[in-house]
């Protein structure tokens, strides 16, 4: 149980998808102008990463490894991720058309989010069991959402700050992102994954 908890803390904070592995940077900069949209995107990404990692693990174990098709891994995972996004979109639309109208805008963006593929490939390297792999993917995506929300909060404050003209907009956002990454380095002594 302790190893399990440490693995999840490591995935979420120490080896954070955005700030340590530098994945998903386009959504990190593009969808973090408001906290509510960042939270919506974060939750949608968490759902897709977790669901697609379940499918990725099953395909890797029972198809690619079993028949020696490892060279098809990347293209297969991309197909699975696209299918998972489509499945999510169809399901949300079926479950509640109102929710689809409110949240559907984030879903197509996730297909091209490299964090989703990155986490899937990390799972394969980790050689984990099904539950460990799913929890690792869930923790990684929670770390992604956490950073998105923190950064969105900082950017909302930056709008009100008296920033020199030279640094206004994306430059100060990149500087703040760098400082946030350094702050997250403080977690590096806690656990390893």
């Amino acid at each position: 149980m302790k190893e399990f908890a440490l693995m999840m803390i490591g995935a979420a904070l120490v080896n954070n998808v955005i700030l340590a592995r530098f994945l998903g940077l386009c959504s990190f900069m593009g969808v973090t102008t408001r906290v509510d949209t960042a939270a919506g995107m974060g939750l949608a990404t968490t759902f897709v990463i977790t669901v697609s990692s379940m499918a990725d693990w099953a395909v890797q174990t029972y198809l690619l490894d079993a028949y020696g098709l490892g060279f098809l891994r990347t293209v297969t995972f991309i197909l699975i991720i696209a299918s998972a996004v489509q499945f999510t979109e169809m399901t949300i639309k079926k479950v509640s058309p109102t929710l689809f109208q409110m949240l559907g805008i984030y879903l197509p963006l996730i297909t091209t989010n490299c964090a989703v593929l990155g986490v899937a490939l990390l799972l394969v390297e980790g050689r984990m069991g099904f539950l460990s792999a799913t929890m690792f993917a869930f923790a990684s995506s929670v770390g992604y959402s956490l950073v998105m929300i923190i950064f969105a909060g900082l950017r909302e404050r930056l709008v009100l700050a008296d920033v020199p003209r030279l640094f206004a907009g994306p430059p100060i956002a990149f500087i703040v992102a760098g400082m946030l990454a350094m702050a997250f380095m403080g977690f590096s002594g806690i656990a390893t994954s």
């Binding site: 408001r34 509510d36 949209t37 939270a39 919506g40 939750l43 949608a44 968490t46 759902f47 977790t50 669901v51 379940m54 693990w57 099953a58 174990t61 399901t91 949300i92 639309k93 479950v95 509640s96 109102t98 929710l99 689809f100 109208q101 409110m102 949240l103 559907g104 805008i105 197509p108 069991g129 099904f130 539950l131 799913t134 929890m135 869930f138």
Partner: protein, 178 residues
């Protein structure tokens, strides 16, 4: 574009303070209901002028096109203030409360995930096999989606998820500037 601006009720003014706003275009009026289509932010960030940058939202509807996606996201406003003044093609600023957006996201994504992870954990503890855990987690996910459906129905019945009319959009206002 009409210059008439309907009076906002206190509820609408309050919604304007703590809401996520977006621009939608009136595409059809049926009795006391106005059907709206949200404007899509394109790569250039100017939805209203997108016809000039090659990413037009007025292209023909087809599978996977921007137009078909927008049509799928059409919604209606029930008896909004001053509906008699609305015309087809008019651009309106609509909003949903931040809390509604968060509730919707938690319902749609959080609830199924919670069910799936709990079911997976319980199955693993009971059987300790990957295949059984996978089946248990898939079952939990299906159950979670059912719970999400019920909760979404409850929220919709309370009117928590309904977008509200806030004001008419200025001619130079785009979804990137709201």
């Amino acid at each position: 574009m009409s210059t008439h601006t309907p009076n906002l009720s206190p509820a609408n003014s309050n919604a304007a303070l703590r809401s996520v706003e977006g621009i939608a275009r009136v595409v059809r009026i049926e009795g006391d209901q106005a059907w709206l289509e949200p404007e899509q932010t394109t790569s250039c960030g100017h939805c209203a002028s997108s016809a000039s940058c090659g990413v037009s939202s007025r292209e023909e509807a087809g599978i996977g096109t921007v137009t078909s996606r927008l049509q799928a996201r059409r919604f209606h406003l029930d008896n909004p203030a001053g509906i008699s003044g609305f015309r087809e093609g008019e651009r309106l600023v609509v909003g949903v409360s931040e809390r509604a957006l968060l509730n919707a996201a938690l319902t749609a994504y959080g609830l199924p995930l919670l069910f799936a992870l709990v079911a997976g954990g319980l199955t693993q503890a009971a059987y300790g096999e990957d295949l059984t855990t996978m089946l248990g987690m898939s079952g939990g996910l299906a159950l979670g989606l059912l719970a999400a459906r019920l909760n979404a129905r409850r929220l919709a019945a309370r009117g928590d998820l309904a977008p509200r009319f806030l004001r008419r959009a200025r001619p130079d206002e785009t979804c990137g500037t709201v």
